[in-house]
Amino acid sequence: MLLFLRRRFLFFFFTYLLSSLTIFFLLRVLPGDPARVIAGGREATEDQIAEIRAELGLNASLPEQYVNWLGNFLGGQWGDTIAFRGANNYDLIIERSVNSARLAAVALLMSVPLSLALGVIAGLFENKLPDILISLLTLSVVSLPEFVTGLFLINIVSLRWGRGELAQSLGWWFPASSAVPANASFGEMLPALWLPAVAATLTLLAYISRLTRAGVIEELKRDYVRTAALKGIPWRAVIWRHVLRNALLPTITVIAISISWLISGLVVIEYVFGFPGLGSLLIAAIERRDLLLAQAIAMVTVTVILFANLAADVAYALLNPRVELA
């Protein structure tokens, strides 16, 4: 167990080092002068370029630059934004991350129970009608790109239902745009939040339910299930006490992996709904050529994903005494 945790932590640090190196070098190694790119390409004056060059410490050696940059990132010194005048990257990213985290939390709260239920049902009825219906649903409706489902939802819910009499009395629950004021509380945000969360739920549904289905099917084939059934334990009890308990353990890992999936989906969903989260900030940053902001967002995202994966592995190891030591 300790050996497993030690290996896992080592891998975490190695992965963090390597992905931060990737993000760092994306801006440094590509042809062209990074200072010129950050200053805005051809329109930039030599003075601006020299200023940015000094600010970024581009006159130091590459390894030195990397260490300084990573130190600054870990210390919360992320520089000022170019795209949003008067704000600094750290405050901006933290504010947007809170919004995205709320959206992600609502999406996970909706999608995890629902997709576990669908996956278990599909697994118990392998290749029978419920299974076929569920896999057709998850494969077709749910494998659509987020922007198609998002626009579809806006069209149906906000533009059609939102005009109905019932909806008019609850009007603010059907906004066509999910723009919310800065520093809104969770309750204030909820009307703008639930529709993008449904869109995110749909993207996760297929992924989690298919893996759950596979887990249940595999577990049903084990010898102990047959033994328990032959011992005369009611089938219902076998399913609840034995099969599900074992089959659902790996879903902890699945949920952690799906966070990476969710983050990609949220970039598109936030853009479609005009929700002020980290994903729409990333797109704005790249559109406005604020590569320092984009770099910081990428680092934050990778940090979240790696911590989620680490936490899942540790939780799995603690819950499952048979975890492989190799």
């Binding site: 626009l151 983050i263 790249i286």
Partner: protein
């Protein structure tokens, strides 16, 4: 099925047998067959789009703006503008047909490049083993920690900001930035699959026999191991293709793919959303429908291929 005779073990007949199994398995599952047919239909559109579109120069040709769709499914009539015209007076039907070409070219070529390069890398890593494999494997794991869409957005953003001389090879590369990004993103993923399958195959007797015969490393990797790894590579390729189409459409929608006035489906959806949606809903709905049908079809097809290969293995 070919016997594992020395010298014949790596025969590509195994691949053909697998392909035959795949086709018959497709036929057994109607939803996979329907998906494959739909993909073939879109492929035809992609190949012969300029011949099939009523207005092959739909990007420049202007008609009356905001004409509603003239398509009448009940009467089997297309009319003058089956999918209507957008707010600029461009024929949506022609633009949807022309748009099939770019999505297939980018997603298809990107898949092809990443599968070829990724399998070569994975086969080499798996067969070589040792520290080379260990180091490359860890690097791939680390790269996969970054979400593909995020990496694609950052890469496209950077490459677009670089200045190149017109006509130089860098400029040509920058013009095909999405293709480049998709290939780069999927090489490590394919390599990981090829590597893990190779690790399993390389302990088999026919590989040992080839080693004892003194065959070259190149021969063993490509003539002995590759045919056995090929089925799982086919599955991975079909999966990559469906993700590539998804990614191309998403990047186009976010404004990071083809530039206006290209008839790119994702771009068309983006150009006609918001306030324009009320004005010309058909200009958004038909390209969105095309994306939806293609994505579902490719998914059904790749699901059929996966099932056929797993059954055959």
């Amino acid at each position: 099925m070919a016997e594992d005779k020395p010298g014949q073990a790596g025969d590509f007949s195994r691949v053909i047998v697998a392909l035959q199994g795949m086709i018959s398995a497709q036929l057994r599952h109607p939803q996979s067959a329907a998906g494959t047919l739909a993909v073939a239909f879109f492929l035809l559109l992609a190949l012969f789009g300029p011949q099939l579109a009523p207005y092959p120069k739909a990007n420049d040709q202007r008609h009356d703006p905001r004409v509603p769709p003239t398509l009448d499914i009940g009467a089997f009539q297309l009319g003058e503008h089956p999918f209507g015209t957008d707010r600029l007076g461009r024929d949506v039907y022609s633009r949807v047909i022309l748009g099939a070409g770019s999505i297939f070219r980018i997603a298809g070529l990107g898949t092809l490049i990443s599968v070829l390069a990724g399998s070569a890398l994975g086969l080499f890593m798996g067969y070589q083993g040792g520290w080379v494999d260990e180091v490359l494997g860890r690097v791939i794991d680390a790269l996969l920690a970054i979400p593909a869409l995020l990496l694609a957005l950052v890469l496209v953003g950077i490459i677009r900001n670089l200045q190149f001389e017109a006509g130089s090879w860098q400029a040509a590369l920058a013009d095909n930035v999405i293709l480049l990004v998709i290939s780069l993103l999927y090489i490590p993923i394919v390599a990981r699959v090829a590597r893990s399958t190779t690790l399993d195959i390389k302990t088999r007797e026919f590989v040992e026999a080839a080693e004892i015969r003194g065959e070259s490393k190149f021969y063993i990797i490509f003539r002995e191991i590759l045919p056995s790894v090929a089925p799982s590579l086919v599955v991975e390729a079909s999966l990559r293709f469906s993700y590539a189409i998804f990614l191309v459409a998403s990047l186009g929608f976010l404004g990071f793919g083809a530039r206006p006035p290209s008839p790119d489906w994702g771009l068309m959806v983006n150009e006609n959303r918001g306030g324009f949606y009320q004005l010309t809903p058909w200009a958004l709905e038909f390209p969105a429908l095309a994306i939806a049908i293609l994505v579902i079809a490719v998914n059904l097809m790749s699901d059929g291929i996966r099932r056929a290969v797993q059954k055959g293995a």
